[in-house]
Amino acid sequence: MIAIVDYGVGNLFSLTSSLRAIGADVTVTGQAEVLRQAEKLILPGVGAFGDAADLLRRSGLGQIVVEEAEKGKPLLGICLGMQLLFDRSFEYGEHPGLGLIPGDVVSMAPVVPAGYKVPHIGWNALHFPASRPKSRLFQYVEEGQCVYFVHSYYADRCAPYVTATAEYGPELTAAAERGNVYGVQFHPEKSGDVGLAILRAFCEMEDAT
């Protein structure tokens, strides 16, 4: 069973529906015990980093996600949920993240060229770095296929962990991973068949705990 961590942010309708559409056994929960029993975890999120990080901390769910991930349970962070996997974010101040992947979340505004709109909204092509084997998460995805992004901040100073980028002026981190911890900046649940293929690859990963 895959558990979507419900810590009170965001609309989980599409994510749940998309996982059901590929035949996954999925539950949305804020209960610690269910998260511990699940074979895989998905950390969703929209909104501001600071608010979401506070909710994760106050509810104690952030700690459980970290413990389960450290045991080897596959974890997928999506959009803000991906950003929360990193050490810290500089969105409206400085906020600590879960520290599962080394790196910082910073604004794209200073790095994108003039004329590029922020937020980065729309379908953009995935590029897989030639320096490393393609992530298993993207085993059903080809170089250059498009996924749907909506974000103003991106993960930086995390080069060794970057598994996909998207060009928006510079190449911005589109996905990162460290061991069994995966993060995607885009919305696989809104990225048509390519997105479903990414979710399917995650669903097929083994629970190493």
Binding site: F13, S17, A21, P119, I121, G122, N124, A125, C146
Partner: protein, 252 residues
């Protein structure tokens, strides 16, 4: 590089798609779910569902079909029509909409944009504007283009973006239905005024109109149309191939 978006718009009344639709091989041409799937499979980048129902019963049917569409189609969905309060945002977002488009509701109560943006984020709030040339000015029209509000469209759009609208749909009443191309002058004026994505609507008669749109105005992010897609005059795969051949970046 980010791609230009092609967006079909479906008008829904009492749970059915209206404005005759004519597709080969589609059994139920007025089923929002069948049509949404058809468009999604043909490469539409996003879908807009516009609720033109007037009754409470029709509104309930609309949210029912929205749930069904959002459980079947996994591309961004925008919902408009009858959005007057933050509760209306809540109602459609819970049913699987990703963005909510406001038009007359924001004209009646401009604080709606800021209230919704604060609660759901700028990316969720689309300001849809029907505009027409009146006395040398682009004027905002309400009630489906029937009522001159006296508002200057450029000022209204700037104000909307300052309040938190994350995207603009500009529908030119002057070119709508004429099929002579998008209103490039009006779109250029809006693109110069704001930094958020601008979606062009009104006037597309064929593939060339989309090519001209994106070539003339690189700042325009998307083209929206209804009848030319519904009647099969333009197929999305052909349109995207043509744009690609002209060096315009699209999702193929």
């Amino acid at each position: 590089m980010i791609t230009k978006r092609i967006i079909p718009c479906l008008d829904v009344k009492d749970g059915r798609v209206v404005k005759g639709v004519n597709f080969l091989g589609l059994h139920d041409v007025s089923s929002p779910v069948s049509l949404a799937k058809y468009y999604s499979d043909s490469g539409a980048d996003e879908l807009v569902f516009y609720d033109i129902t007037a009754s409470a019963e029709g509104r309930a049917l609309f949210t029912d079909i929205l749930v069904e569409v959002a459980s079947t189609i996994f591309i961004p969905l925008t919902v408009g029509g009858g959005i007057n309060t933050v509760e209306d945002f809540d109602r459609v977002l819970k049913c699987g909409a990703d963005k909510v488009s406001v038009n007359s509701g924001a004209i009646r109560d401009p604080s709606l944009i800021a209230a919704a943006a604060k609660k759901y984020g700028d990316q969720c709030v689309v300001l849809s504007v029907d505009a027409k040339r009146v006395a040398g000015q682009y004027r905002v029209f309400a009630k489906g283009g029937r009522e001159d509000t006296g508002l200057d469209a450029i000022e209204w759009i700037k104000r909307g973006v300052q309040s938190g609208a994350g995207e603009i749909v500009l529908n030119s009443i002057d070119t709508d239905g004429v099929k002579g191309g998008f209103d490039l002058d009006m779109l250029a004026a809006v693109c110069d005024a704001v930094q958020v994505p601008v979606i062009a609507s009104g006037g597309a008669g064929g593939i060339d109109d989309f090519v001209r749109l994106f070539q003339a105005l690189p700042k325009v992010d998307a083209g929206l149309a209804a009848s030319i897609f519904h009647f099969g005059e333009v197929s999305i795969p052909n349109l995207k191939q043509a744009l690609h051949a002209q060096g315009i970046n699209v999702r193929l």
